[in-house]
């Protein structure tokens, strides 16, 4: 299983889980990073981090370290 912070393409993805129970995972969940949601890495900052993520018509950028709390799978 891949985590969102390790994605280096812009193909559509689906969130499988936000497994960690740290407070940061809770913050991401509040923004809507929840299992079943469709996401896509839309942009990468010039220095490689943070990354910008498209989800349900909104664009939110997070650092790769935090994106790694989110497990994703590719959608065919």
């Amino acid at each position: 299983m891949k985590t969102l912070g390790k994605i280096h393409h812009r193909k559509p993805l689906e969130i499988v889980s936000v497994a960690s129970d740290c407070g940061r995972a809770g913050r991401l969940a509040a923004l809507g990073f929840l299992p079943g949601r469709k996401v896509r890495v839309s942009r990468v900052a010039p220095l490689g981090d943070p990354i910008s993520i498209e989800m349900e018509g909104q664009e939110i950028s997070v650092r790769r370290a935090e994106a790694n709390l989110i497990e994703v799978k590719e959608v065919k």
């Binding site: 497994a19 407070g23 900052a45 010039p46 220095l47 910008s52 997070v62 935090e66």
Partner: protein, 730 residues
């Protein structure tokens, strides 16, 4: 209608996510009738404003923008405390929820959380125009039906829907209504009761208990204490949730979103794509090459405006100050103490406050424009990697860059950082940036010692390097602070990329006005007080005998080289060269005999380790209120008068000739290369700026201000001592 008018004003809170136009709406509703203060003990600003609605006084509270009520720090707890009427807050009578119409579902999470508190609500669907442009079809009447409260489409930026919103608020006050609360599954209620019953003697409400369970690092739990049993209770409660197959950290969001799916079903039509224009603009502005280039171009303009364009305005204020001094001074000539207090203490102090205004107003002009257009978020996205490692983030760039012109607007600009930990760190690092007031000292010392010895190329490089000494120390220090000192849990750096918008003149103007007024009122008073105190330390005790002795010594010395009749004749004319020299001598003698001068002599042994004599020490001490004073003080101490500047050849040559009169170094030059380098590094690191101390105290608190002052001064001293001790042995 409510029959009797209540004795106190009605309290209405504005609640919403960041970037919803909440503050714009606040500005629209209150105009300039705003009051900004700090919530006690934390660094979040409390914005309240007054408005009148059908004859009733209303106090409007602009709560900090937030995505949820989760709170890991006291700063974040403010929203929950304010809504719940906890810890000195008074609960509002009504909440106006500002919901971004382009992103209703996510915005409603916060509303759904707040609904738990049982306060009547009105929903403002803001940015209604943008939602339409993005192809969303929102059935706001259906939404109002579902929620059971008024739902008003608004365009705060242009004042659209404002009248309807006010009407709805009036109705809601007369007929308070709440939105349907979430029905928690039994196991959540079970976990909540577990905590509530376990803390029976403590008055913890159900929503507060749930906050502690859902928030892994709960600031509310930290606040109420009960270190003995609370952690055990929370662990057991979370275990209940886990045993039902849910992650306690995300359970709240999962359940609220499930609740919202049902409420919002059929309300939002259209595909809600990210606007196409925005995508193509982002493709350029966030491009690896062009984006970076444009970023530096924008920042260059911001920096130039502070560094250069503010100059004429500042000169104007300076000239104005001198004009007022010149006009007032003769009126008080009868009493020299009052004359000096008013001109050198008070008028100079007021001038010293106003002098910062051009830079503050210009910086906030740019920040308001950059923020309102949506570019500031892009800039932070581009730069974040540079700062992330030491606990700062992409939004630290503008404050730190501004610090290179002046720390005051830079520290104020740190308001743009939402994360309390990163904001504190940014504020404390900003004074390390080499502000323009340090430049004259570098120019004087490099011009007097480095350039004659090593040539203009080395001198140029020395000046360049000096600009990065502070930053080079600040970054590792920030890293250390984040690791070891700041006990706040780090929060994820979340940057929402807002749509590009055209800023409105009104909003930009209010931002500038707000910041300028706040600076003058809140920091200005402290800066003025500093100015008067330092004036007193440099003026008193001022015994007559000091001037008399200085005069006698001077006359005796002059009479040795020329006939004493000529000396007396020259001194009889107050405009003669000799009279001017004598008055400089007397000024020098007074400063030596002043309390600050005596203090300087007393603490000179401390600075002796860095090779500084008492004159340098007094110069340093007198520059604590404002480092640019150093040059003028040196002028007075070396009997050249206060009107010297960093280019003065007289001052440069006198420094170069200055020798130790006694002690182990008698006969050696005072300004050896290690002393000069140490002195420059001392200036680079030391917080010699009363205005910065005042602004840090106002933005954070006096504890942080004192800590920052002590740390910077200690670092500066240690660095100067190391440079001198190693340098003088090579």
């Amino acid at each position: 209608m409510i029959a009797a008018a209540p004795a106190r004003p009605v309290r209405i809170a504005l609640l919403g996510n960041p970037n919803t136009g909440k503050s714009t709406l606040f500005n629209r509703l209150t105009g300039l009738r705003q009051h900004i203060a700090n919530y006690p003990g934390i660094t979040v600003e409390k914005k309240t404003g007054a408005m009148v609605l059908s004859g009733r006084q209303i106090e409007l509270i602009d709560l900090p923008g937030t995505y949820s009520l989760a709170a890991a720090s006291p700063d974040e707890r403010v929203v929950m405390d304010a809504l719940g009427g906890r810890f000195g807050h008074q609960a509002p009578d009504l909440i106006v929820c500002v919901v971004d119409a382009t992103n209703i579902k996510r915005n409603m999470l916060l509303v759904s959380e707040a609904a738990e508190l049982g306060i009547p609500m009105v929903i403002a669907l803001n940015q209604w125009d943008a939602a339409k442009r993005n192809g969303l079809q929102i059935n706001h009447e259906l939404l109002a039906d579902r929620l059971g409260v008024p739902v008003v489409p608004t365009v705060a930026k242009r004042g659209g829907g404002l009248e309807e919103l006010k009407k709805a608020v009036g109705h809601a006050l007369a007929e308070p209504r709440q939105i349907p609360r979430i029905l928690w599954p039994e196991f959540i209620e079970e976990s909540r009761d577990l905590v509530c019953n376990g803390l029976e003697q403590e008055d913890v409400t159900g929503p507060e208990a749930l906050r502690m369970i859902f928030d892994t690092d709960s600031a509310f739990a930290d606040k109420i204490g009960h270190k003995d049993k609370l952690p055990g209770l929370l662990k057991a409660a979370r275990e209940v949730i886990r045993s039902h197959g849910m992650n306690p950290a995300s359970a709240e969001a999962v359940l609220h979103y499930r609740h919202l799916e049902a409420l919002l079903d059929g309300v939002i039509g259209g595909d809600g794509r990210v606007a196409r224009t925005r995508n193509s603009v982002d493709a350029l502005l966030l491009n690896r090459f062009w984006g970076t280039l444009i970023f530096f171009a924008v920042m260059y303009v911001v920096f130039q405006s502070l560094y250069a364009w503010a100059g004429p305005l500042m000169d104007l204020i300076d000239a104005g100050t001198s004009l007022v001094q010149g006009a007032v001074s003769p009126l008080l000539a009868g009493t020299p103490v009052i004359q000096s207090l008013v001109t050198d203490g008070i008028i100079a102090g007021v001038g010293g406050v106003l002098i910062f205004l051009p830079q503050i107003l210009l910086l906030f002009l740019f920040i308001a424009v950059l923020e309102d257009t949506g570019y500031l978020a892009r800039a932070a996205f581009l730069m974040d990697k540079l700062f992330g490692w030491c606990g700062l983030n992409g939004k630290s760039f503008v404050p730190l860059l501004s610090g290179y012109a002046c720390a005051i607007p830079g520290v104020m600009a740190a308001r743009t950082l939402e994360d309390p930990k990163a904001r504190i760190t940014t504020i404390l690092m900003t004074p390390f940036m080499s502000c323009s007031a340090r430049l004259p000292v570098y120019v004087l010392l490099i011009g007097a010692f480095v350039e004659p010895a090593y040539g203009p190329i080395v001198a140029g490089w020395a000046l360049f390097v000096m600009h990065f000494v502070g930053a080079a120390v600040a970054m590792p220090l920030a890293w250390f602070m984040n690791r070891c000192i700041l006990k706040i849990k780090a929060q994820p750096f979340i940057l929402e990329m807002p749509d590009y918008r055209v800023p409105t003149f009104r909003n930009v103007f209010i931002r500038m006005w707000e910041r300028g007024r706040e600076f003058v009122i809140r920091a200005g008073t402290v800066i003025l007080a500093f100015s008067v105190i330092i004036w007193a330390l440099l003026y008193f005790p001022r015994s007559e005998s000091v001037a008399k002795n200085a005069r006698e010594t001077f006359v005796a010395a002059q009479s040795a080289t020329m006939p004493s009749v000529e000396v007396a004749a020259a001194l009889a004319n107050p405009d003669s060269e000799l009279s001017l020299k004598l008055s400089h001598r007397i000024d020098g003698a007074y400063i030596e005999q002043s309390y600050l001068g005596r203090f300087g002599k007393a603490v000179q042994p401390v600075f002796d380790l860095a090779g500084f004599d008492w004159k340098i020490t007094v110069g340093i001490l007198s520059s604590f209120p404002a480092r640019e004073v150093m040059i003028a003080t040196m002028g007075i101490i070396y009997n050249l008068g206060a009107d010297v500047d960093e280019g003065s050849d007289d001052l440069r040559s006198i420094l170069a000739q200055e020798k130790w009169h006694d002690g182990p170094r008698a006969g050696q030059p005072v300004y050896s290369l290690p002393v000069v380098l140490g002195l420059m590094v001392f200036f680079a690191l030391c917080m010699q700026c009363g205005a910065t101390v005042a602004i840090v105290a106002k933005e954070l608190n006096w504890g942080w201000a004192a800590g920052s002052f002590a740390t910077m001064t200690a670092l500066a001293w240690v660095a100067a001592v190391i440079i001198y001790q190693i340098g003088s042995r090579l």
